[in-house]
């Protein structure tokens, strides 16, 4: 494990602090540390786009668990803390399995409700908790044996420092790893994340377990430090404190919760001089902070420094950029079969008994008027929509019909979206790195300990992302935030993202939209190169020059029905197609 110089310097300063400051400040630092733990956890979950407003429930569960174990059975608080973390994690896991299918406000409401229920239980289960009276006399923390009981603030401080540093390191590793990228992906564009093989549900569930375990540890330490337990632990304002620390410090950043925990523990204390007006002033400061640093302290500090973008990894030298990830475009000879698919929304039939198949190395275009059902077909194939009847088969005739999108991706089918095809707040290069998720093998603990294999894998993913960016001609824009790219550049980035998981079947939804004719020709060349590497392409596009120029076959949809199928030359002559779609003016664009 290598520690960067800055981390060592910070640790050194923090180690000297208790010998310089008096006990009052040491106490405040311990409290900062205690609140840092649940806040850091909340931050990991927030990085995945889920806000919990019931986090104090897990803090309280941790405190009561190790407190009661010590009081009733005399278990050492050190072991109690482990049990507390495990129990909080287990409860978090159970709550998560039920609720993490919910998004946004619904998840927030459930967590608030959960914390309230736990608070009522703690208040009313008098035999266990003495209800509102609370439990005094919780034993002080020790290091496994009574002989090592902590007796001074300074000792508590150092134990807290170790816990805090470990938590910081854990969160830093997680947020900067492939797991952290998956969280970012889910937060910024969940559908796109799913389509490149990230399971939004599983990713946020792991984050939830981490978040709750950390809250459990923090709560446990708090109980032994204050030596008193009461249902107040579950009060809503504790959660609010954590949210202020995370959001004020800088959500989804590594240092945010740590800075936030210190600043927002000390600030109200310093304001005690204002006596009566204290909370009013605190409120005004919070308001100003949110107005002027909406993304928190960390972001504001980064703005002060001139940021030098990290260099892009060198693409592997020589030869064609590697599109196919592991050299095995799976799928046999017919990697995709759509059989008698019908989709009905209420009374509307979006697709009606549509059947077609895609051969290996084939470029098949799906054309038709706006609203003919092309995008619906993409939704069905990639698992975003269940057909009313019919089925979709992948390579080796695996039934894809009921698989969720990230599983479909694992079967080698990756789509590009028509709208919102990027992760808007990430740089172009990070967009592609995120999308390489499926190719990573490192498990949770390998990421936490950043093993040699993990580092090698990370380097490979970075190089692959750089090579795909070069392939799509976006190397010069690598560090530009995706939302700043022009529409056409975002289409190209969307293409690079869809290539990142190494598809056997690539589904492209209007790759040339927003490109001028010269740029469109380059995209045509790209698609042909992709096919040359053994990938099959299903293409939706309105640019007839492109469609007629590179397709092997064309399927025409109109009002949800297949009205024609054949080679480009046949399709161009088909009277039905001309009437429904091509129009008479297409005659001169045929060249």
């Amino acid at each position: 494990m290598r520690l960067p110089a800055r981390a060592l310097a910070t640790l050194a300063v923090l180690a000297v602090v208790p010998f310089v400051l008096d006990d009052y400040y040491v106490h405040l630092l311990i409290m900062s540390g205690i609140f840092f733990l649940p806040s850091a956890g909340m931050n990991v979950l927030l990085a995945g786009g889920q806000l919990t407003l019931g986090h104090t429930a897990f803090f309280g569960i941790g405190a009561y668990t190790s407190g009661l174990l010590a009081l009733q059975w005399g278990l050492s608080p050190l072991y109690g803390m482990v049990v507390a973390a495990a129990l909080a994690a287990l409860v978090g896991y159970l709550l998560g399995t039920i609720t993490l299918r919910l998004r946004g406000a619904y998840f927030v409401l459930v967590t608030i409700g959960f914390a309230e229920v736990i608070r009522l239980v703690a208040t009313n289960w008098i035999e266990l908790t003495q209800g509102p009276l609370g439990l005094p006399g919780v034993p002080p923390f020790d290091l496994g044996r009574a002989a090592f009981t902590l007796t001074s603030k300074r000792q508590y401080y150092f134990v807290m420092l170790v816990l805090g540093a470990l938590t910081y390191a854990l969160c830093a590793r997680l947020l900067r790893s492939r797991f952290g990228r998956a969280l970012t992906a889910v937060r910024q564009n969940e559908n796109l994340a799913e389509s490149v093989g990230v399971s939004a549900y599983r990713t946020t569930l792991v984050a939830m377990v981490v978040a709750c375990a950390l809250a459990g540890v923090g709560g446990s330490f708090y109980g032994h430090y204050t030596q008193f337990l009461s249902p107040e632990l579950f009060a809503f304002y504790n959660t609010v404190t954590m949210v202020v620390m995370v959001v004020g410090g800088g959500q989804a950043t590594v240092a945010g919760p740590a800075l936030g925990a210190i600043v927002f523990t000390f600030l109200p204390e310093f304001l005690r001089v204002a006596a009566f007006y204290r909370m009013l002033i605190y409120g005004v400061i919070l308001l100003l902070a949110i107005m002027f640093m909406p993304r928190g302290i960390v972001d504001a500090l980064q703005r002060l420094r001139r940021r030098v973008p990290a260099s892009v990894a060198e693409p592997p030298a020589g030869g064609e950029p590697l599109v196919v990830a592991d050299g095995r475009p799976a799928g046999g000879d017919t990697p995709l079969v759509v059989e008698h698919v019908t989709v009905q929304f209420g009374g509307l039939t979006a697709l009606s008994d549509v059947t077609f198949s895609l051969a290996r190395r084939e470029i098949l275009a799906l054309i038709g008027p706006n609203g003919a059902g092309k995008t619906t077909a993409f939704h069905v194939i990639t698992g975003f929509l269940r057909p009313t009847t019919g089925r979709v088969l992948g390579g080796a005739r695996i039934d894809l019909t009921s698989l969720p999108p990230h599983e479909v991706c694992r079967q080698g089918l990756v789509r590009m979206f028509q709208k919102a095809s990027v992760f808007p707040e990430c740089s172009a290069i990070n967009n592609v790195t995120i999308a390489g998720h499926r190719l990573g093998r490192a498990g949770f603990w390998a990421l936490v300990f950043n093993t040699r294999a993990t580092r090698r894998e990370e380097a490979a993913l970075a190089a692959r992302a750089a090579s795909l960016l070069q392939f799509t001609g976006l190397t010069g824009r690598a560090h530009e935030v995706a939302s700043n790219l022009s529409y056409g550049e975002q289409r190209l980035l969307g293409l690079a993202i869809a290539l990142a998981p190494g598809p056997a079947v690539l589904l492209l939804d209007e790759p040339a939209a927003g490109l001028n004719p010269a740029e469109t020709q380059r995209v045509m060349a790209l698609i042909q190169q992709i096919r040359a590497q053994g990938v099959s392409v299903l293409l939706v596009e309105h640019d007839m020059k492109l469609v007629m120029g590179i397709s092997d076959r064309i399927v025409v949809l109109n009002h949800g029905q297949k009205i024609a199928e054949g080679r480009p030359a046949e399709i161009q002559r088909d009277p039905d197609v001309i009437r429904a779609y091509l129009g008479a003016g297409q005659a001169d664009a045929r060249a």
């Binding site: 609203g371 056409g488 927003g514």
Partner: protein
């Protein structure tokens, strides 16, 4: 009518427009061509006040408008129809159109204009009570243009009206623009479909890396060797 003089715009520290100058005279149809990322959409957004230039002047009907808020510029008579069919998907077609007239606020005139716009877009009349999001792509583009017209503009700024439309819809849309234009509307159009755009435009400008580098009549641009190679694809 509209003039941009050496306009510069930056996102953060990165200057994306590095000197854009162009003029649109009353009654003209002018198109803006260029590669992706050249700054065409940024130019459109600057004209309609969604972005503020850091230097240069934008004048409209002899008044400076750079730095004025978007709603004031709309009121002054510039309607911007952004790329990618931005409509209000959860409002009905009628409500979408009424939103277009929001700045005018006078109910009687609005009703009259609504009638006139529905006249011109019979598809929208059929779908008046449908939610915007349920329209097909082509119909959404119609709605976006119709909504822009509802503010009673003197200048219509169209950003990529053909984006994502089927060939027949592209034809219909361009016919519609020609028609609107024939009735006296001044139009500035950003378009990737350079060939079709130049065929209907009076004049055009070519942008490269944030600058206007070439201007001329549509005819001259169609014949220009550089334009042919770079934007018309051969």
């Amino acid at each position: 009518m509209l003039a941009l003089e050496d306009v510069r715009v930056a996102y953060g520290n990165v200057e994306v427009l590095r000197g854009v100058s162009l003029r649109v005279a009353a009654g003209e149809l002018v198109c803006l061509l260029g590669a992706n990322g050249a700054g065409k959409t940024t130019t459109a957004k600057t004209i309609s006040g969604l972005l503020r230039p850091r230097a240069g002047r934008v004048t409209f009907l002899d008044a400076r408008i750079d730095g004025r808020p978007a709603h004031a510029i709309l009121r002054a008579g510039i309607a911007h129809c952004p790329e990618g069919r931005r409509i209000f998907p959860e409002m009905t077609v009628r409500e979408n159109l009424e939103m277009g007239a929001f700045v005018r606020g006078r109910a009687a005139r609005t009703a009259e204009d609504l009638e006139r716009v529905l006249e011109r877009f019979p598809v929208l009349r059929q779908r008046a009570n449908q939610l915007g999001g349920t329209l097909s792509g082509g119909e959404q583009q119609m709605l976006a243009i119709a909504r822009a017209l509802m503010s009673g503009p003197k200048l219509l700024v169209l950003d990529e009206p053909s984006l994502g439309l089927s060939p027949t819809m592209v034809e219909t849309t361009f016919e519609l623009i020609t028609e609107i234009r024939r009735e006296g509307m001044t139009v500035l159009m950003v378009e990737q479909n350079a060939y079709l755009a130049l065929r209907m435009a009076d004049r055009g400008y070519v942008m490269e890396t944030g600058r206007t580098v070439l201007e001329g009549t549509a005819r001259a641009l169609l014949d220009n060797e550089h334009v042919r190679r770079a934007y018309l694809g051969g």
